[in-house]
């Protein structure tokens, strides 16, 4: 045996275990590779089936589970009718009570008015148009009415002038709060040149019309529909046009500095009364 063969034999004896170990690892890697590839292939095949089944499941819920859910709910409601009524009654009751009392109040106020001075006008209107007298009265009860108008400085929220049918809480505070709400909403949504235009408050709507230095808030009761909205907008634009026109005249045509100021609150309020107090919308 030559020297070289001896070394080879020695190598064989020494590295037998290592070689076997390496071969085992290679086999394992091969198995893992195979499994991964197979899983990917399997997933590719199975995924569309699962998705399809899921879609079908979702679309079929109303037909498959719907009746069961409805039946269960019905049964539960029948079993616990008192409990459910107890829970809902205060909420629904308050809503209905408030709504009905408000409606009756409005109706009785209108009818009282109609029965006095306007009665003959209504009768005449009914005879002339052929519409029943009750229908005319009812249609008038739901019409929109201007309750309050505020001319407010933008930003500061300081009240420049106001007109109100009835006494309310301090108008300066209302102007401030409206401005804060308006500012908050406009700020929160972060849209430039967008303004809060309407606030709904149960039976009232607050229409907000913004201009550059001021905005006008009109509080409306009754049915505030598109037609009424359109009329209110026209009234506001007319008023504002006059108001700004007079201001510009005062500022530019006046020779002395003292009178180069905005028109005073008193004149503005007269203007508001003139424009809004008898306006029908």
């Amino acid at each position: 045996m030559v020297e070289r063969d001896k070394i080879e034999l020695l190598k064989d004896i020494l590295f037998t275990d290592d070689r076997e170990f390496a071969e085992k690892i290679a086999r394992r890697i091969e198995t893992i590779e195979h499994t991964v590839n197979e899983q990917e292939k399997l997933s590719e095949k199975v995924k569309p089936i699962i998705l399809k089944q899921l879609d079908e499941f979702v679309t079929e819920i109303p037909t498959t589970l719907g009746p069961t859910i409805t039946a269960t709910l019905k049964e539960e409601i029948q079993k616990n009718r008192d409990g459910i009524v107890d829970a809902l009654y205060p909420i629904l009751g308050k809503m209905i009570k408030k709504y009905i009392s408000q409606e009756i109040k409005l109706l009785s106020e209108k009818i009282n008015k109609q029965l006095s001075a306007k009665r003959w006008t209504t009768k005449f209107k009914s005879w002339f148009t052929g519409v029943k007298e009750e229908d005319i009265i009812l249609s008038e009860t739901s019409s929109a009415n201007i309750e309050q108008v505020l001319l407010i400085e933008r930003g500061s929220g300081i009240l420049a002038a106001s007109y109100s049918k009835t006494e309310t809480i301090d108008k300066d505070m209302i102007s401030g709060m409206l401005t804060a709400i308006k500012g908050f909403v406009e700020d929160a949504f972060g849209q430039k040149n967008q303004n809060l235009e309407l606030i709904e408050y149960e039976l009232y709507n607050i229409h907000l019309q913004s201009f550059v230095s001021y905005y006008v808030a009109v509080v409306i009761s009754g049915d505030y529909n598109t037609k009424a909205k359109d009329k209110v907008q026209d009234l506001i634009f007319d008023f504002y046009d006059d108001f700004m026109g007079k201001n510009l005249d005062k500022i530019f045509k006046s020779s002395d500095e003292k009178s180069k100021k905005m028109i005073d609150r008193e004149s503005l309020e007269k203007e508001l009364v003139l424009k809004f107090s008898n306006a029908s919308i």
Binding site: E153, R154, G155, S156, G157, I158, L159, D170, D172, M173, G176, M177, A180, G183, F184, E186, D187, D264, R265, E266
Partner: protein, 162 residues
Amino acid sequence: MQVSKKIVVLGHFGVGKTSLIRRFVEDSFSDNYKVSIGVHITKKVVEISVGHEISLILWDLEGTDDLKTIRDAYLLGTHGVVFVFDVTRPSTFQGLNTDLEIVKSKMPSLPLLVVGNKADLVVKKDLEEVLSKNAIATDFLTSAKTGDAVNDMFLKLAKLLD
């Protein structure tokens, strides 16, 4: 003709902004602390000289530790500012000069009063020492609880706005 001026009252949480306004407007005080949310607006007419009145519209803004977060919409058109801190809580005045810089950057060139509130709870001498140590200059030390210096403070601001 009565002129209206918008005043904003600012400061950290719980320094007594609402209590100061309540004391000034309603002349009342309550120990029951309620956090102000958003903004609350009140009004008081003050006579700054015989026959000359000014209507102060007071915007009580919710307290905040970071004055940068105050909504700019609430500060628009402001005529005067009251910055309130709590003399019993160093955290409300330790960064006062930085806070004032922020206020001034948001509302430049406006009359501004710095007010240390709850002065009834500390010894005046000790308080002055603490404030001087922190390099804090105040315009008024008030107490919404006792009413001390509250009217004077708002009256001074009204005069500054006239």
